[in-house]
Symmetry: C2
């Protein structure tokens, strides 16, 4: 077991070399449940949409050639031969010299190749007076003009919005193959941790991480499995991790890591299988004790116990993995430029993350004000922060007024900041 703290980039590289995130399988869901899911297959149209030539306006189905030369002074006169309603299969045939009344959306009857708008014609005693010619195909929605049979209309990897769901419905589909959501088991460790809702004995605190992390798992498209709290004790931890490995595709633990000889988690992880621990401590602040292992081909992220540190490390390491396992292309981090509101110091030799709150000054510039994590890695702090700034290992501080790049926690705050 190596003890050298890796840099953030080294740790990411080791993780990438040891684990390639891939979707974990395919399931078929109802169209009404397909929103925001990721297509696991190309969708090829098995039919034309619309399936037949349709009238695009209310009017008369005609043979375009019959109308040539019609004008306001010398109308063409056609015999009315019938009527086509929406939704019916027309029995009437439009022979040369005839026209059939037709409603918007109704199928063009046999023989007809255009529709004259109601406005350009007059009906009188079974005759139709046409005052303007139409060309072939005019006012006709051609079969297959929206979707052509055999066309690939949606591609594997696309996320389904309301618009793509509409396309699937147009093809008459009721189910669609999407990638399964990766399952992420969440284990909280520590003798002091009590589940919310239970009485709180002296010396104990409520479990924050299980809930904040499982919400963070959902936010990136995973399905959290809450496995409760286990003490920092090898046998119980081993049992909990074995259960997690049997139920989930990714495991996240929090607490019980501190990069020291008494650490139980790395020992248990190494005992569970090869390669075991691949990252044992990171040269970052916060997040130093972060430990990453691969066991049974599954990534295990052992995050610090402090709520803000564990959530921050989740964003940096676990979120990109879970996100990719949903079948989507890699996520672009949400970055905004801002101006530092005050001087911010780094921890010597460690990548330092400063959580910041963003506001606009009078001139509209975005101002990043540090929200210190404090001793407790306070969850309230994090809830007040919009994102974080990185200070490189080589840099001692950021000065007030310096331009900084802020990485945002969520698209919603990103959008809110840009549109406000």
């Amino acid at each position: 077991m190596f003890r050298k703290l890796l840099t953030i980039e080294e740790a990411k590289q080791v993780l990438e070399q040891s684990f390639s995130p891939k979707p974990v399988g395919v399931e078929h869901v109802q169209l009404s449940e397909a929103l925001d899911r990721v297509l696991a297959e190309d969708v090829v149209a098995a039919m034309d949409v619309p399936p037949f030539n349709r009238a695009a306006v209310d009017g008369y189905a005609v043979r375009a050639a019959d109308t040539f030369g019609a004008d306001e002074d010398s109308p063409v006169i056609l015999k009315l031969c019938g009527h086509v309603s929406v939704g019916e299969s027309p029995s009437v045939v439009v022979e040369k010299g005839t026209a059939a009344e037709i409603a918007t959306g109704a199928p063009l009857p046999q023989g007809a190749d255009a529709v004259i708008m109601m406005e350009y014609s007059i009906q009188r005693e079974g005759d139709l007076f046409i005052y303007s010619p139409v060309s072939r195909g005019e006012n006709v929605m051609k079969a297959g003009s929206d979707i052509r049979k055999g066309e690939t209309v949606l591609k594997r990897g696309q996320t389904l919005s309301s618009r793509e769901v509409g396309m699937l419905a147009a093809l008459g589909l009721t189910k669609v193959g999407v990638y399964k959501r990766p399952k992420v088991a969440i284990v909280s460790t520590g003798a002091e941790i009590v589940e919310p809702g239970k009485p709180l004995p002296p010396g104990k605190i409520y479990d924050i991480n299980a809930y904040s992390l499982s919400a963070a798992v959902r936010e990136c498209g995973g399905e959290p499995i809450l496995l409760g709290t286990v003490p920092d004790e090898a046998d119980q931890l081993k049992a909990a991790l074995n259960k997690a490995l049997s139920l989930a595709d990714v495991i996240v633990t929090s607490g019980g890591v501190s990069v020291g000889p008494t650490d139980v988690i790395p020992r248990v992880l190494n005992a569970l299988g090869q390669p075991g621990v691949i990252v044992y401590g990171i040269a970052s602040k916060p997040g130093k004790p972060t430990t990453i292992a691969i066991v049974e081909g599954k990534p295990v992220f052992s995050l610090p116990g402090h709520p803000a540190s564990s959530l921050l490390m989740f964003y940096l390491f676990a979120r990109p993995v879970v996100y990719s396992m949903t079948g989507r292309r890699e996520e672009s981090p949400l970055m905004l430029r801002a101006v530092a509101a005050s001087k911010m110091f780094s921890a010597r030799g460690r990548r330092t993350f400063v959580t910041v709150n963003l506001t606009r000054d009078k001139s509209g510039r975005l101002i990043a004000s540090p929200v210190p994590l404090g001793l407790s890695g306070a969850i309230t702090t994090l809830a007040r922060a919009d994102g974080f700034i990185e200070i490189p290992e080589s840099q001692q501080f950021i000065n007030a007024g310096d331009e900084v790049v802020v990485r945002l926690f969520q698209p919603t705050s990103y959008v809110a900041l840009l549109t406000e």
Copy 2:
């Protein structure tokens, strides 16, 4: 029933005067289901977090005054009086001249007011040699330093992200009061409409709108209720609308409106109750037949049958209403500046919406290329579009190269375009 087509702004104004969107009620959900919900109540902390003074480091709990004057040459020597583990209620009391070993996160024992880091002390035969002084409160996470009892930690109207969920867990809460999702009934009308999954007889087409609109309802935080398809016939339509009014807070119909004397929907809506139809046709393209009514105090949006038109009109009129009914502040439209790729014409005297696809040119400029809706108001078209441009009534066209403002359909495409 008035026939004058309203402008988009007039229609919005009439709607605002007739209906004030408000949350429809409160429900209490489990913390694990609270993500993305909107708080219906201020959350006031019923306890301190942490609930007691905690050691922030591994070390020794001391009385700070005992350590004053300690330095590397003349250490202070204290008697070890015990040990405090994480999660226990300490029985030891730190009297003057004594120190207790303590683990990170363990409760500070009575008498102690600071923690000496392990690194600055040496333990030898029951004595502790201290080489550096600490001040009161040093390395101590004070009770209430994260959240103070009585503090309002979250405000009504806040949307809960992973960070806010963590705060609720910190307080030991298992349930939280959130606004109910507004229920939106969706009715498709038209004799030609068949539900996906069923066989498609000649002359019929599959129902697109029920699925694209219900996904659009979910996208803005509502809960869709699919009520199926009804023919354009007064009695059946009336029955369907009555059912919709009994089940939902908002009603959306599609198809069966064309602003003409044969229109069934406006007549049925007016017969159902006062004020009935408030907007009967809009001077826009597409979307002209859009009809809005208020019946039993609930808004009814009767949208065109063409899939793209109905989705566009949903975005413009229904989405802001449903969004506000979720309890969130009004949504800021997502706007981006781009350059028109080609000339785009407007429909004379009507607000024209041109759906566009956004790409970047070599110099990084955003280029808006029109995706024409075509005769069919094609759903495929809409799926290819990122957003839309408005051309005012007074303007005949937009020239290629003109700067345009594109309103985007979704935050995700907004983020993707800005981060790519």
